[in-house]
């Protein structure tokens, strides 16, 4: 099986350690991943801000880069949801505008092959215990696109529960949005910040040391809020938790 890592433009540029963790983790599980260097961005920010036509060439590019792989894995719930949920819609809309089914046909093959990381681990690799070790108290925030867009369900929690040394504590109001929302964080900064603050406060109330999520975009917003609030919490992507083993000791955080 040829598996490609779709790291997303945000992770590639700002969170390379998440990408390295995914590679470490999948390699340890016997999955060989390729990183097609021509990949860029799924077009979500364009699409969600109202620039659907600008998102089309990016989606096309995605399909060209990843079309030949058997599976595409991404450590981002929201970019995964863009491909799975919204690419079909891009195709439909192009057709409705009288531009034929070309775009739909181009995008269709990558849609069912795209998996968010925890989905890939549980559904495709078929593991919940990935042999990880992480001696910290962790609370998990299910991001909106992972939760409602992709329907990740309890997959991330099952993976976390199997991690040695990890104490998982429940996050009150977990299903509530953290307030990131892409350009929403800029366009409605006050509401966004209020939502982020509430999320950080409720994570603090659990007594956890680490706030974990399967999406660095939300963690960027929450991490930035934690810094300003001088919170003792740390934002950590789930891939980085799952990548560490006892042999690494504390090296991998």
């Amino acid at each position: 099986m040829r598996v490609a890592l779709f790291l997303t433009c945000v992770n590639d540029t700002l969170y390379p350690e998440t990408g390295r963790a995914v590679v470490t983790l999948l390699t340890r599980l016997g999955v060989e991943v390729d990183f097609p260097a021509a990949q860029t961005c799924c077009g979500q920010a364009h699409y969600n801000t109202g620039y659907r036509h600008q998102a089309e060439p990016l989606a096309r590019h995605f399909a060209e880069v990843f079309g030949e792989y058997d599976a595409i894995v991404t450590p981002s719930g929201s970019c995964g949801a863009m491909v799975r949920e919204l690419y079909p819609r891009l195709g439909e809309r192009a057709r409705a505008e009288g531009r034929g089914g070309g775009l739909a046909a181009t995008l269709a093959p990558v849609v069912p092959k795209t998996y968010e990381l925890t989905e890939f681990l549980v559904d495709v690799v078929g593991v919940t215990d990935v042999g990880a070790y992480y001696p910290h108290t962790v609370t998990y925030h299910p991001t909106c696109h992972g939760l409602r867009g992709l329907g990740l369900g309890d997959r991330p929690l099952r993976l976390l529960r199997a991690v040695k040394g990890l104490e998982l504590v429940e996050l009150p109001g977990a299903e509530e949005c953290c307030g990131f929302g892409g350009t929403f964080a800029l366009k409605n900064a006050d509401v966004s910040a209020a939502m982020g603050t509430d999320k950080v406060r409720s994570a603090e109330s659990t007594g956890a040391e680490v706030l974990c999520a399967a999406d660095n975009s939300c963690l960027m917003h929450l991490g930035g809020t934690m810094t300003r609030l001088r919170s003792g919490l740390r934002p950590v992507h789930i891939a980085e938790i799952l990548a560490g083993t006892e042999e690494d000791g504390e090296a991998g955080r």
């Binding site: 964080a185 409605n188 939502m195 991490g223």
Partner: protein, 492 residues
Amino acid sequence: MSGTFVGMPAFPEAARAAVADARLRGNLRHATHTIRAKRARAVAEVSDWAELREAGKRIKDHTLRHLDRYLVQLEEKVTAAGGTVHWAADAEDANRIVVELVRATGESEVVKVKSMATQEIGLNEALEAAGIRAYETDLAELIVQLGDDRPSHILVPAIHRNRGEIRDVFRERMSDWGRPAPEGLTDSPAELAEAARLHLREKFLRAKVGVSGANFMVAETGTLVVVESEGNGRMCLTLPETLISVVGIEKTVPTWRDLEVFLQTLPRSSTAERMNPYTSTWTGTTDGDGPTAFHLVLLDNGRTDTLADEVGRQALRCIRCSACLNVCPVYERAGGHAYGSVYPGPIGAILSPQLRGTASEIDASLPYASSLCGACYEVCPVAIDIPEVLVHLRERVVEGGPMVREGNKVVLKPAKGHAAERAAMRAARWAFSRPGALRTGQRLASRTRRLHPRTLPGPGKAWTATRALPAVPPEPFRDWWRRTGGGKEGGK
């Protein structure tokens, strides 16, 4: 729409003030969280909720597709039952019709049962201008009216007020409108309800004209339906001699059988009740029982234009249950007033810019009043994909495009003020279409990372005002991958 909201600031500014109001945030948080939990329990009791939701969606879609036919049928049946049907293309039309109807009775006051359609058109203001006083009789509407306030929620228009504030409003203002509040009124719910009851009873018994909305109109029999909790509506519907109902054309359902679905989903979604306490239905007039004259004003006011939009028309499925408001994290912080419309929350963010167009600043800002978290879509009992419509309307704002206004096809220009963003989006698209350009940008960012400011100018300021920026790492992933051959050459 209503004159009351003209000149409202755009959503982000209005929301900023609300976010800073600790009491408002407290009131809203308490109210929405309570009802949210109750709704979830009430919905979980029904084993076939998913099917009911799908059925509601289909019934509404079918009706909207054949709305012309069902409206004609409705008119025939209402007329045959002794009522009179009036067609109102817009707010002005509707207000003129109602004012003339009230004038013809020779009365100078009317009692009203909560009706969002009449708020949408600013009927109370139009009546006042014509020298007619309108008394709101829904408890929450009464609070809003006495407080010279605006509604901020579909179902609980005074949700932004707590008990203490309501007691103060009653004590200070009831005497201006009729029977004063009882001496020594406290903030106990029972006392507040009793004060309202006494105050309103006087009006019910005196009024000769009632004005209502309706939750549903059944085309096969010409029957109107109101569901409510307090019974005040029933007083308005039965005691006056003349009843005028102003109803949006999208409230039509074909048959009584269709009601079965909505009478299950509406109360559970809105008040978390298995069944609402009062369901009133009326068909034309009946000799010796209820009003002797019945007028139905069918309101368009942007609805057929909305119907012409393939993506946006699903907003007309809305049964105004308000579940989307109660679950919305943005509504919870911003409050209903920030939406500048009688329809606040997620549904308001998609309905108002469609009914009114996106020309004004507030209407152009509403499609952005969401983080697209999808909670509203999940709870909506008629499965309106609100995030989808929001994104669709964002597109209309930033890119313009074809749409229908007042029945005519027009091509909308992009709204002003998005030029910089448009340029940035184009530039990003350009770079993202060229992996080489992306890499150059990343390297530049990495190399200059020590120079990056802690606060950003321009739109970025909004981010750094409350949140720290992530540090740019020394090496983007793609460079690491190349340098280490995908991690094989020990580049950790």
